[in-house]
Symmetry: C2
């Protein structure tokens, strides 16, 4: 037999790709259902079982959400329960608290070497820098500074940020069509400098978590690089190992 599959890819992986392409193209919007498995099977010319395996994989990656009896939905950052997915903070007693975001600064700039490397663009490309404060139960807990590809976020201004009540990722999703799929975080411990201490309402030299995040959209494309400083006097960063 000819060994004709050095790039062998199972059918369900190809179906998976087709579904992701449709999501990227905006054929199905966040929060809405996608066509039924039967219909997708017909459309793609495969059996329902093969579509099922593709959807299973996307559901396990939190890109789709299955609901028995109702259909399969495109996951959305609008869902308030999804907020914890990308902000792993819990109150010391384990409670999940919904933070409120307060923008501090929003400016357009050119990518420096570090931002360019992380975002996978050329040095000097247009980017947007956003600084904001997160309050939990009224108390400032997180200060974030993030860098976004300018091209992907036209018209992102201080006013837009101020008018938005919800998570940043739900703004990105609904206003700019940019959906965060996964992220990598690097956590270290640092000391609060004077400026940060003032904003967070803690003493200078208070220990803080430094959480550097690179967030990816479809196709593992990096679209956001951010660094957050977390005060962990009343909250902790929760993680699950398995």
């Amino acid at each position: 037999m000819a060994q004709e599959s050095p790039t062998f890819s199972p059918l369900y992986k190809q179906i998976r790709s087709l579904i992701v392409q449709a999501l990227e193209a905006g054929d199905w919007q966040p929060g809405q259902t996608i066509p039924s498995e039967q219909e997708l099977a017909l459309r793609f010319g495969v059996s329902q079982g093969t579509v099922r395996k593709a959807v299973d994989e996307l559901a396990s990656e939190n890109i789709l959400v299955r609901k028995q009896g109702k259909g399969t939905f495109v996951s959305t950052h609008q869902d308030p329960r999804a907020a914890f997915r990308f902000l792993r903070l819990k109150a010391l007693d384990g409670r999940l608290v919904q933070p409120k975001s307060m923008p501090l600064e929003c400016m357009r700039a050119k990518a420096g070497p570090e931002a360019a490397r992380n975002l996978g663009v050329e040095v000097g490309c247009p980017i947007v820098m956003v600084r904001r404060l997160l309050r939990f139960e009224g108390k400032p807990v997180v200060i974030d500074e993030m860098y976004l590809s300018g091209d992907a976020f036209p018209g992102l201004t201080m006013e837009v940020l101020k008018d938005w009540h919800g998570s940043l990722y739900s703004l990105f999703e609904s206003r700019f069509g940019v959906r965060m799929i996964r992220a990598e975080e690097k956590v270290r411990a640092i000391l609060a400098d004077k400026a940060v201490a003032e904003v967070l309402g803690v003493a200078e030299s208070t220990p803080l978590l430094s959480v550097e995040r690179l967030a990816f959209s479809y196709g593992d494309k990096p679209v956001e690089w951010r660094r957050g400083l977390y005060s962990t006097e009343d909250y902790y960063y929760a993680n699950e190992l398995s």
Copy 2:
């Protein structure tokens, strides 16, 4: 029809339980293969597809490992590549480094209220306390203090710890038959006190990660409660969000 399934449980979940029971009973040892899907299907009187679904789930939880053409294996902490699973530290440049463990203290005691609550035992039950230092490339980076149910770890002494070259979890697995399946971690930032600073070779009041971990064995039984202090001058705590 009678609504006879308030406690409905799919067949594959039951098969999953049977497999976990066999693992708990020690029928199949870490690193070894389990019987083939065909054989399990025969033994349990279900189709191969149902066994497959059960095994799929256990593989996704890192309890089993599938290897095409070879069989399905019981995962083991002996595998050096599995060390990162429960110790999420990488060098600043992203390299994975294999740490060396150095025991500092090992004593038996009675559970205080906090340890008892976390381990799910009565106050006063026998426990073992272990303190140890982790070195990465010669440098001290982590100091750990852990509490274990005394009953589950008979004969765990300083000598045993000193003689062991490998991860603690591989020692627990091979010598005591206790296998860690998953864990929850709470991460905060704290300041090094004088004693800790000395051991880690950093200045007093250096910011450190405080990583509190509760580790579970089969059946979500808590068996280890530990707190680690991580120096993040040369390493970071890596996490993947999705």
